[in-house]
């Protein structure tokens, strides 16, 4: 299949989990994909595994930093001549805690990683997309962009904020051939969830297993979602067929969210 033939995408994160699944799905549809991650060795190994040769490239850097996000977009355009699909996908928490115990450092990290990254990336991508009157901006948000959960206030707040940013930006560029959408996955047992999960669970007063079970129980399907399910929605939103879908908070959450 080739729903993204000739398109160029960049993905913050992308060496693993959701970003990696997006990269695989985009490549399978004919796109060229630049992925990003902090670790050069992991990035190169991922490029090897993706096996798409010169349709892939890696750009190293921490996605919670402005120079990385802007650098990734500039690098993509320089190397492949254009940027059609900008996936602002990286995000998470490090040492999360209930509000009463939340440190300024963690709060700032989550704002940078989850919200500012999206703003920096979107602004930079639009500079390129607006003159071309064409583009897709895809933000990996979360069910926590609509719901509140105790113990992860920074994540909940920044994902809510990202949804607001998506809706506002969609209205700004709606007649310019550019769509701006968010995908809201339910819990997925990604590497990052497995890594930070035990601490996150602790902040919620649960064990890791209890946390996963809690999320699963809130859904209709009673299981976590998968990265492939998110990637399939991303392909749709990135494709020409979705030219009239914008400002959409697209759920991939097994029926968790009430709206």
């Amino acid at each position: 299949m080739s729903r993204l033939q000739g398109k160029v995408a960049c993905i913050t994160g992308g060496t693993r989990s959701i970003g990696r699944a997006m990269a695989e799905a985009f490549l399978a549809e004919g796109a060229t994909v630049v992925i990003n991650g902090r670790d050069q060795a992991k990035g190169e190994q991922c490029i090897q595994e993706l096996g798409a040769g010169n349709r892939t490239a890696f750009f190293p850097g921490d996605a919670s930093r402005q120079d990385t996000v802007e650098g990734l977009i500039d690098f993509t355009i320089e190397k492949f001549g254009q940027l059609d699909i900008c996936c602002l996908n990286s995000g998470g928490v490090k040492n999360t805690a209930p509000v009463a115990e939340m440190t300024d450092e963690e709060w700032q990290l989550e704002v940078d990683w989850n919200l500012n990254q999206v703003f920096w990336g979107m602004r930079r991508a639009l500079k390129h997309m607006l003159p071309r009157q064409s583009g897709r901006i895809l933000v990996t948000s979360s069910v926590e962009g609509k719901l509140g959960k105790p113990g992860i206030p920074g994540y909940v707040a920044t994902k809510h904020a990202v949804n607001g940013l998506v809706k506002a930006a969609a209205r700004e560029v709606g007649t310019s051939g550019i769509t701006v959408n968010a995908i809201l996955p339910g819990l997925i047992e990604t590497d990052i969830v497995q890594q930070s999960g035990p601490d996150t669970a602790k902040a919620m007063g649960l064990t890791y297993e209890e946390m996963v079970a809690t999320f699963a129980k809130e859904s209709a399907i009673k299981r976590p979602n998968t990265v492939e399910e998110v990637a399939a929605a991303a392909v749709l939103l990135a494709s020409d067929a979705a030219r009239n879908i914008t400002g959409c908070l697209f759920p991939v959450d097994g029926g968790t969210m009430p709206y």
Binding site: A220, K222, A232, N244, I245, G247
Partner: protein, 259 residues
């Protein structure tokens, strides 16, 4: 290789407009598709245009009648041995008036055309889907299932009701391999809209061109949606990759709905 090889779909309506676009899209991915409508002549013409050969079938059906709805689902199973995908697509409203002047007949007609028909076909389809532990139910709701509009009270009411039914049913069958979703399109100039739009506009105190312009201006893209937009999302929901999406009300409205 199609995404829906071996799958069987049943669509209420389907001889024109959104249903026809969905039928074409599902056929294109290998599914067998039953379309329905009141006019056998229109049905045969639609089948010829769809060109699905043995994979296309037409059943005469007035969705405002329970027996017709149930017989349509049964006929699908009789013809192709199973039903995997139900698209409750037919719908509309007549006799548009502000609530103060809305007649019982117009309200009742909207209820049967949209809500009862969705309930009748869903209930019947679940009879087959639950034992096979696989199914995809897709209701074509509307942006009016999320927001209110003066002068369209009966339509707004029944589309909201369909969204409620969708969410409840999704939670009932979430662990049975069956997903239940609603697609909420913005205004599309289908035959139904062209037929009923002038009446709706009059109920709102404006002309039909003003009505079209109002819908366009409320969106981010400043134009109406197209039937193909809806078909693209229906395809994702109908596919195996859509297994993790249920109970959702996906906006395909060019950024109109606020949530």
């Amino acid at each position: 290789m199609g995404m829906l090889d071996g799958r069987v779909a049943c669509i209420t309506g389907g001889t024109r407009g959104i249903g026809f676009a969905i039928a074409r899209s599902l056929l294109g991915e290998g599914a067998s598709v039953v379309v329905s409508g009141r006019s056998a002549e229109k049905g045969e013409r639609a089948l010829a245009e769809l060109g699905g050969g043995d994979r296309g079938h037409f059943v005469t059906c007035d969705v405002k009648q329970r027996d017709d709805c149930e017989a349509l689902v049964d006929a699908t199973v009789e013809r192709y041995g199973r039903i995997d995908i139900l698209v409750a697509n037919a719908g509309g409203a007549t006799g548009h008036k502000p609530v103060a002047e809305l007649t019982d007949e117009a309200f009742e007609d909207a209820l049967r055309w949209n809500l009862w028909h969705t309930f009748w076909t869903m209930r019947r389809a679940l009879k087959y889907m639950l034992p096979q532990r696989h199914g995809r139910i897709i209701s074509i709701s509307s942006v009016e299932g999320k927001v209110g509009k003066p002068g369209l009270a009966h339509y707004v009411t029944v589309k909201h009701a369909i969204n409620g039914l969708t969410k409840s049913a999704a939670r009932e069958v979430g662990t049975e391999g069956i997903t239940v979703n609603a697609i909420c399109p913005g205004a599309i100039e289908t035959d139904v809209m062209i037929a009923e739009g002038p009446g709706a506009a009059a109920s709102m105190g404006i002309t039909y061109p003003e009505l079209v312009d109002m819908f366009a201006q409320e969106s981010a893209i400043k134009r109406l949606n197209e039937v193909e937009d809806v078909a693209a999302v229906a395809l994702l929901l109908a596919s195996d990759a859509g297994a993790g999406i249920t109970g959702s009300m996906i906006s395909v409205d060019g950024g109109t709905s606020p949530y």
